[in-house]
Symmetry: C2
Subunit: 217 residues, 2 copies
């Protein structure tokens, strides 16, 4: 198993947390997004979607590559179920996936590197303008997370109950992004409490961007 990531990619960060929680240690490879390494050469041949992360696995019919963080997380859950990241009941699973998808489908796609680059190129805004755009969608999405977590009977020490799961794997990287873009997290007390509970665990702490071998300022 070989994992292709980038230290600052939220999507790669989600998978790093899940790998750590499940005790899986794949070979690691790094794709430098700011240098555009994802768009050409060997990596684009490996993953035609030309984004990180990607997971290379040995399948029954030979080697295979899985793209998309959420597909990788579900694959890891199905093939390494010993430390579960989803509850057993269908409604609980739906709640966890729904929470995860706020980050995966509603926040992160609007603030990743290629989108901020296009905002700057198309509309002549500077970095501060691109950050304001990113901050807006982080605030809208984290408000949805807060409303879904706060006061819900299934929210526990973590997003769903008292063990970390797939929703936490997605929430924590999003909070790292939100901080980077200057979001005032005091507006989101349930999100902040869960983030702190997660980061107290080595599986989360060791997955954070600044602790990766390819980290830069």
């Amino acid at each position: 198993m070989k994992f292709h990531g980038y230290f600052r990619s939220s999507a790669a960060h989600r998978v790093r947390i899940a790998l750590n929680l499940k005790g899986i240690a794949p070979e690691l490879a790094y794709v430098h997004l700011r240098k555009g390494e994802q768009r050409g050469g060997a990596y684009a041949a490996l993953n035609p979607q030309a984004l990180v992360p990607a997971l290379e696995v040995d399948g029954p019919d030979g080697p295979a590559v899985i793209a998309q963080s959420m597909a990788i997380l579900e694959y890891l859950e199905e093939t390494h179920p010993a430390v579960p990241l989803l509850p057993r009941d269908p409604l609980g699973r739906a709640r966890v996936r729904s929470l995860a998808l706020i980050c995966v489908a509603d926040i992160h796609p609007l603030q990743n590197l290629r989108v901020l680059a296009k905002i700057r190129a198309d509309h002549g805004v500077d970095e501060a303008g691109a950050f304001a755009w990113a901050r807006h969608w982080n605030e809208v999405g984290l408000a949805a997370c807060e409303a879904s977590l706060s006061g819900h009977r299934d929210t526990g020490r973590f997003s769903h109950g008292d063990a970390p799961g797939l929703a936490d794997c997605c929430l924590v990287p999003q909070v790292f992004s939100a901080k980077r873009f200057g979001v005032d997290l005091a507006r989101f007390p349930a999100v902040t409490r869960i983030f702190d509970a997660c980061q107290a665990l080595p599986a989360f702490d060791l997955a954070q961007p600044s602790k990766q071998p390819d980290a830069e300022n």
Copy 2:
């Protein structure tokens, strides 16, 4: 079971297709996105994420609401497995989810109503400018779909094999959006072929935006 949708929402469209394929006929409710009905009143109380779609279900502990189309699709798959939308093998499931997520996480979030409204408000572009932005992300994402589908041994009559599945539930609504934004689909022959195969099926045809009771021009 009660399904809250909007005729033009790609996310609601995905779920309509899955419901039709599985032969599930929930009570239907309509949320008028252009009038902002999702952001206030009874609907926002029901779904704190304030987006469509949402599925109300009777859970073992009482009524529950599932937000996020992908979470709803997975829930339907787990609770109504008779017509499967995912293959059985973990790698096949990962491929189908990965294909679906190109639309769910990489294209649609960048071109939905609230994002186009913000592009227009922040940057003073007109509808044509907003459509150009939407067209760009549709083209980038559909190129990723095409590269992942074309020539892959698991691509069949549909995205994965010869029966329609979860990837098709997500691809078809995206092609409807792409057409609306003026994307030249001739660049994507595998996508177009699969779209045509899907639309030949009543489950897909009857789910299209113009055939919904709340459809408008």
